[in-house]
Symmetry: C2
Subunit: 467 residues, 2 copies
């Protein structure tokens, strides 16, 4: 995922207000079909694990617009077809592609040593010979903005802004600012390059990659992130008070003519005239790890829940599984889906893109008229340890613009406490996915899907009726 | 540290036997001077932190025989001199030097992707173009040994032996076997290269470096370690049953004419005719991290305890601080000290080389005649949560051969539960050192040193007497 979670904070505040002032809600009884499907997923789901394991093992990293992402689409089509989904297809789109090359950083003086660095998306290339410059350090982007250009010109900026873990991921908003905005500001002030402290919460020598986009009038400059231990090391060295000189090598490439695509599959509803329920995640990943938590587990959770509905029978409404392409580099897949299908009414949109740790909260934005459905979702999820948050908010990076357009949605919030230990690093690998928590996710999604797309009729009956 | 801790297991067994059969020991009263110095160190020591922080920040990595290790010696001489030690000197020695170059590994087929790899010490170079071969996998070195040469010849061996954390580090004996022995066995069977699962207990994409030495008749081949998540990924890929082809690039260099040295400093005893107490650690580190736990904290603990004695007055016996050079690549510093000083009687030898987590056990090998001293050490350390283990064992990599020669010694065993999460990886950095646990180490060392080198007389009196 790439979007800040400021929305979550607003949602939490709204929910709190509601709890204090709203009249008590009427009791909600969860129908047996919903509870049974939920509990079966919690105990037995293996679909989500198999997809997560398969995609990360047989494809690995799948950077947006690259041949690896194309292999991931092929893999997705094969897998979703084998699982029995209908209308499996790829909707392709074009995009510019940025790829990483050799990268290194080393302090030349006063204390020569290497730092662990990775290029940020859309970084300019230093060329293989690298650049060398004096470090000028700031605690925040605001401090960088406030500095006179003369203090920055010709130097390499270091922004040392810190980020702490939060359950709802809200610290990623401010925590990611140096990465998102720092390169543009540094460029505008004449810096020859920038390194930021990684937007992360771990203490490992793995820098956190991520996209940044140079704003209007900002000439692209080399832009990297150093790992958190390296940022602390550099801060200690700077504290000694001597000028610090850094050699930075970030060799990257850009080409305008890449191709990506959304992989789409469906569970046909009994009434095809009704608006579908969209469930999704994003298929692409950053290129350092295998994208297990970002976002193989997300596409897996969405598809596993849909498959469990399919196994149980036929839902009233069509469930549309969308594995978005090229999310990490600028929400391209979501934009393309919006352009092509965004005006079509959807009954709800849901996206899983915050790892695979347990869901702790459900938000929804289904409208006043469907408040009973929203309450039923809350009641069905409560036994999984999930609290009901807002009725006015949903979330998701690719679906975000469509939610803002007015599409209804449900947001199943995963616990993000350790998400930013691994996010966009080489450490985003399968061993970070806890199978038990992954099953809890599938259970919550399955129960939610039964409510949104159901009721479900046993497959044998509708099929025999149709023959 | 590089040595297996099998000795610890034997010691634990011996201690257990003793507890069951020996007559109850007489009560031991800890003199006030010892308790006061111990408690002051526990509450207030900053010497050890300052040395650990300074060495890792101002020098960083310091690979054996390199210019970086030479800078570390210069740093050590300056720091120990500034702290007031006497007879500060470097005793230099020659050694062959192995250095790391570019390194990468990627699966070519069936599922193309990169693996995180690092070369093992003394690895042959693949040259910049790398080598490509089919993987042949084994669960253990024994399984590799048992395989017919025809199954290995012309291939790249993968040894996937696992290692679990242990408090006493004993799992590093068997856990490190693939790294130590695997390359020799693979070479003897005609493999073109070998990669081993890292000897570690973490789940991060940081491979564990470490030395290996090709045995008699084994032609050097490229030898690397892959990170634990990568080993698990490779195992999953192999499980699919298709032939797996790997491209391995490990560019490394060897030169015969390196120089290293031991940095030595002393707290002169009141009676210079008495055998000295040697306290030490090793100054060199692997080149991936900054060697904070291996072994900046070790040299820091030893020097801090000696400095605290110096601050309190003059000990009866000389305390000799030795920061050994080039331990990691084959105990060269310890060997050189042994050749030059090993025949001189020492009152005791102690080495800190197992991180900076709390000391949980004290072993000693001071001889029957000094059993009271050994018991007093146990009694003085008990309030720090330290149990008394064996009276027949001590430990330490550089001092190990001299202990075997018959020199007396004390072994203060650190808790190794998380040590092999970081050992020999890029993650061995300052943030892994817990200042509170570091102080507990200094407290234990200080109390032990008072007993071994004391009693201490206030500095004012002896100095004025001498004038």
């Amino acid at each position: 995922m790439i979007k800040p979670f400021v929305a979550c904070l607003l949602a939490a505040t709204a929910a709190q207000g509601l709890a204090q002032s709203a009249p008590p809600a009427p009791p909600v009884v969860v129908p047996q079909q919903i509870a049974a499907l939920r509990d079966d997923a919690l105990a037995n789901d293996s679909y989500a694990w198999d997809i997560t394991e398969g995609l990360t093992t047989e494809v690995g990293q799948r950077l947006a617009g690259t041949e690896a992402e194309a292999r991931a689409r092929d893999w997705g089509v094969r897998r979703l077809t084998a699982m029995g989904f209908s209308n499996v297809r790829v909707e392709t789109f074009a995009l510019p592609v940025w790829t990483r090359g050799a990268e290194s950083a080393e302090i030349v003086a006063p204390f020569p040593q290497k730092l662990a660095v990775t290029a940020l998306g859309n970084s300019a290339s230093t060329g293989p010979q690298g650049i060398t410059g004096q470090i000028v350090a700031f605690d925040s982007v605001d401090a960088l903005k406030a500095a006179p250009d003369s203090a920055v010109r010709g130097k390499i900026v270091f922004v040392d802004h810190r980020m702490a873990p939060t359950q709802d991921g809200s610290s990623y908003g401010p925590g990611g600012t140096p990465r998102r905005v720092g390169p543009t500001v540094a460029s505008q002030k004449g810096a020859i390059g920038i390194i930021v402290r990684s937007a992360g919460t771990d203490h490992h020598r793995n820098p956190h990659a991520g996209v940044q986009t140079f704003g209007e009038g900002a000439q692209p400059i080399p832009a990297g992130a150093i790992s958190i231990p390296d940022a602390e090391q550099l801060a200690r060295i700077l504290k000694r008070g001597q000028p610090v000189s850094l050699r930075l090598t970030l060799v990257s490439q850009r080409r305008p003519d890449g191709q990506s695509g959304n992989v789409i599959a469906e569970v046909p509803g009994r009434d095809p005239s009704l608006p579908p329920v969209l469930v999704g995640g994003h298929l692409d990943s950053w290129d350092l790890g295998t994208g297990a938590i970002d976002d193989a587990s997300g596409v897996a959770i969405a598809a596993a829940a849909a498959k469990r509905i399919m196994d149980a029978g036929r839902p009233l409404r069509t469930i549309r599984v969308v594995w978005f392409g090229s999310e990490e580099v600028g929400l391209f897949g979501g934009q393309y889906y919006r352009t092509r299908h965004g005006k079509q009414p959807h009954w709800a949109m849901l996206e899983s893109d915050f790892g695979a740790d347990r869901i702790w909260r459900v938000n929804s934005k289904l409208g006043e008229a469907r408040r009973d459905d929203a309450r039923l979702i809350g009641a069905a999820l409560a036994p999984l340890g999930i609290v009901t948050g807002s009725f006015e908010e949903a979330e998701g990076s690719d679906i975000g613009p469509m939610l803002e357009d007015g599409q209804p949605g449900v947001g199943l919030s995963q616990d993000g406490t350790r998400y930013f230990d691994y996010h966009h690093t080489p450490d985003d690998t399968l061993d970070k996915v806890d199978p038990a928590q992954l099953r809890q996710n599938v259970a919550a999604w399955t129960a939610t899907l039964v409510i949104l797309a159901g009721p479900i009729e046993p497959a044998a009956r509708p099929r025999s009726r149709r023959r």
